[in-house]
């Protein structure tokens, strides 16, 4: 197995990604800019939505790069960037245990209740 295959822990990426705080000034050419996740609000009134990721040395540069990479066609009016290493994700192997308990609780949905048709505005 090639060594560049690493196990995934955080978000969609490995935990091996460096954060800006870890950057040394020694200028090693092996130093990769940290990875950032980009969230865009497409218009007022809507949530920021994850659109992808990019590399940048710091948050300001990440926002500037996100502008160029993800909003070339008026896709957004507001950008959030979060360093990928700060994203913690649930484990897909535990999906059953996490989401199963909701399955047998049909009474949480309004359609569960059988009421007369004459009943209106409810």
């Amino acid at each position: 197995m090639k060594q560049y295959i690493i196990k995934q822990y955080y978000g969609d990426y490995g935990e091996g990604k460096n954060g800006a705080a870890d950057i040394s000034t020694s200028g090693s050419s092996k130093q990769e800019w940290p990875l950032w996740e980009v969230f865009i609000r497409s218009k007022q009134g809507l949530d920021h939505k994850h659109v992808g990721s990019l590399h940048a040395a710091d948050a300001q540069m990440a926002i500037e790069n996100a502008r160029d990479v993800y909003t070339r066609r008026n896709e957004g009016i507001s950008i959030w960037v979060v360093e990928s290493k700060h994203i913690h994700a649930s484990n897909p192997d535990e999906a059953d245990a996490l989401y199963d308990p909701a399955n047998d609780k049909a009474y949480r949905h309004p359609t569960f209740y059988d009421l007369p048709d004459e009943l209106t505005h409810i």
Binding site: Q8, Y13, G27, E32, G52, L54, D58, M61, V69
Partner: protein, 314 residues
Amino acid sequence: MEKNLEQLFQEKINKEIRIEPKDWMPEKYRQTLIRQISQHAHSEIVGMLPEGNWITRAPNLRRKAILLAKVQDEAGHGLYLYSAAETLGISRDEMYEQLHSGKAKYSSIFNYPTLSWADMGAIGWLVDGAAIMNQVPLCRTSYGPYARAMVRVCKEESFHQRQGFEILLTLSRGNEAQRRMAQDAINRWWWPSIMMFGPKDDESPNTIQSMKWKIKRFTNDELRQKFVDICAEQIKILNLTIPDPDLKWNEERGHYDFGAINWDEFWQVIAGNGPCNKQRLDARKKAWDDGKWVREAACAYAAKRAARKEVKVA
């Protein structure tokens, strides 16, 4: 009997459930995707070079602004795809190293030179047209991050093809020299473009497994035929010709027949012996090496600012 992970994985694929980065996947699936997505990303990045050549020589400001926007899109497409590949556990720098060392390939179309302005038209119409034909089915590819990247790419790509056709259309309605220039560009780009779909199905060893995993949705030959059928009609609007004497409508098949592809040339260019292989790679390596101080300076600046902030907090 207990199903093994590989069977469960294939069942998900068969049910059209997308695979996401943290899901279990066969190692071969991961590696096939890393190879395909990074190769695709490299193609976008190297693909800027033949066109970048013409930005300063565009015939007017309108064409120049359009070409700049197109080349910028290609940089963006490369970035979307590198990010998708990174979710599979390979680093950005590792991919660059593979490109620079020649270990990773990129689309061999970009190893052909751009000799005249009409080439910008032919590239948009034919090269981007062939790319779109390949990319549209990839919007439904089984790996989630790749599919999402392709949706964005495809949305942006259609202007690329249309601006290319418009360049050729304008030339085709021009004077005799302009018509000749357009025809010459089509003559040179036609065959390399239909080679872009890759080797024939019976010589494409990865196709069967990639179809089973729904990484690929159509075979190389299916897509190539579709592309030829469309171009054979579109060329009529240009009132120019496709440089293939064997191209003709086959009523029985419901498709255009076309002539034999020079596969020897295809393999030669892939092997590094195309007209511009060395020039393209040298340009990429130079850009990477010349950018080193910028990457380092940005890191140093970020570290300095972070340190200053810490002092303030303390």
